[in-house]
Subunit: 265 residues, 2 copies
């Protein structure tokens, strides 16, 4: 099972939209996908039409170890299963503060299901707290959705510092898979400048012993497309809602890239 | 001094952009404004061209009570002063966990400067943790930037619950001033639907004893405008960067509305 954490502490950059639709695209290509909603906002859960208030066993119960992973998994689409979130998850961070090895709880809980799925995608909250650390300990790859805006670029160094710490102290296998440009508006000067900054930043890391020295910019860019913002209100993925729009094309192309490992850059 | 917390736990909805440019617009209208950056990402600090690594005394020192408020305030523009942020701020939440009355530290520290400014605006991080609670305890009004998207609307009920709790237990004067639509794209069906949902939600609250029963939707809508995303890379407000663009117009109109209290709806 390939384990990918979709994270960025900058808010509103497309983490949930990417987790939802990349999973759906991988499932269309025959991959069995397990999703985990680690955000107390429970937006991944809502995006798939599951009501957080109805979730009895989910990510929270897994973290406070009051339930087994098998009871936390629900099938939501063909080839897509979900460990859902509800608002109690916001309490997990303070409840786990003094637990020994608190960052590894999720990793250990998921070990049992390693052979049942081809991919595991974790949607992270917009912070670098304990929930995100659990995701980084349980994953082997990090996918960083990023908006081609100046403020979104500011946090990248801090994000990569955190990934380095987790790799050095908790999870030696962790590496940055790629940076994914979301809500992309080609043609704006800002987008051109940010892409240039990003490309030279990643090029400098090549060959050095860093968790992101193999990281690249995905060739696929997710273009800004209002349909991607409309489909969550119907509890649908972009493929349920509007399978021939640009949003669907972009996420299919991303899935092909993730599967093929083709990330020339 | 009017004290306003700019908050929404949903990420990337325009909190920092609104804090930055509303302050600049109010300053142009002769108001003396104090800004506080309570987000460990320090984006408000960066937006005004201040390097977080150079900040020796800022919001963190105020919260851990290692410095007096006078030493934390820096003048950054005519009529605009800032209590800046740096990355240590992320540690404040765990360092304050067991302090008695931890939510009131900021409020008490700011009492001394009440007569020195006309407005105080606090930029909050995308969470409902202790930093945001300090902002809600120190403020009398809450301004909620919101993107007219379905996912952004989901968190509103939880946000208002938190405001109610703070009003009931910590700060009886707290009320919701208004919801501000940001990155607004007028012609989309999604925008029309969300505005309808929002307007009927707020209308239902009128006359009931709720912290948001007087809340309204600001008449001003901040339209999507790439210049608002470009100006932070120069450390400038929209008025420094492109004073005649739509972004500048919208924030001037918002300032007029905030000053005039004209919020018919
Ligand atoms: N390519 C796109 N085009 C248009 N809208 C988009 C696109 N991707 C995401 N959105 C919308 O932008 C908003 C932010 O996206 P999303 O919620 O996925 O970001 P996030 O990083 O998960 O946010 P948070 O930090 O709050 O978890 C949502 O309303 C979403 O519907
Ligand atoms: N009206 C607008 N038009 C275009 N871009 C905008 C607009 N308002 C904000 N932006 C851009 O959108 C992104 C998100 O805005 P901003 O950072 O202000 O949101 P935020 O709510 O403060 O995010 P966070 O939750 O991470 O603190 C930024 O890159 C900003 O430059
Ligand atoms: Mg999200
Ligand atoms: Mg912000």
């Amino acid at each position: 099972m390939r384990r990918i954490a979709i994270m960025n502490q900058k808010g509103g950059v497309g983490k949930t939209t990417t987790t939802t639709n990349l999973a759906a695209a991988l499932a269309l290509k025959g991959q069995r996908v397990l999703l985990i909603d680690l955000d107390p906002q429970a937006h991944l859960t809502i995006h798939y039409g599951v009501e957080p208030a109805d979730v009895e066993v989910g990510a929270y119960e897994l973290l406070v170890q009051s339930a087994l992973v098998e009871t936390a998994i629900r099938t939501i689409r063909k080839n897509v299963s979900l460990i859902a979130a509800h608002t109690d998850l916001v309490a997990a961070e303070s409840e786990l503060v003094s637990i020994v090895g608190r960052e590894m709880i999720l990793r250990d809980a998921l070990a049992k299901v390693d052979d049942d799925f081809d991919f595991m995608l974790i949607d992270c909250p917009p912070s670098l707290g304990l929930l995100t650390l659990n995701a980084l300990a349980a994953a082997e790859e990090v996918c960083i959705p990023l908006q081609a805006h100046f403020l979104a670029l500011q946090g990248l160094a801090k994000l990569l510092d955190t990934v380095s710490l987790v790799q050095a102290r908790i999870n030696p296998a962790l590496r940055v898979g790629g940076v994914l440009l979301c809500m992309f508006e080609a043609g704006t000067r800002l987008a051109v400048e940010v892409v240039e900054d990003l490309t030279s930043f990643l090029a400098e890391a090549k060959g050095r012993q860093l968790p992101w020295s193999e990281a690249c910019l995905f060739n696929t860019r997710i273009r800004r497309n209002i349909k991607l913002a409309e489909c969550p209100s119907y509890g649908q993925t972009i493929f349920d809602y509007e399978p021939r729009c640009r949003g669907a094309e972009d996420y299919l192309s991303l899935a092909a890239e993730v599967l093929g490992g083709i990330q020339e850059n």
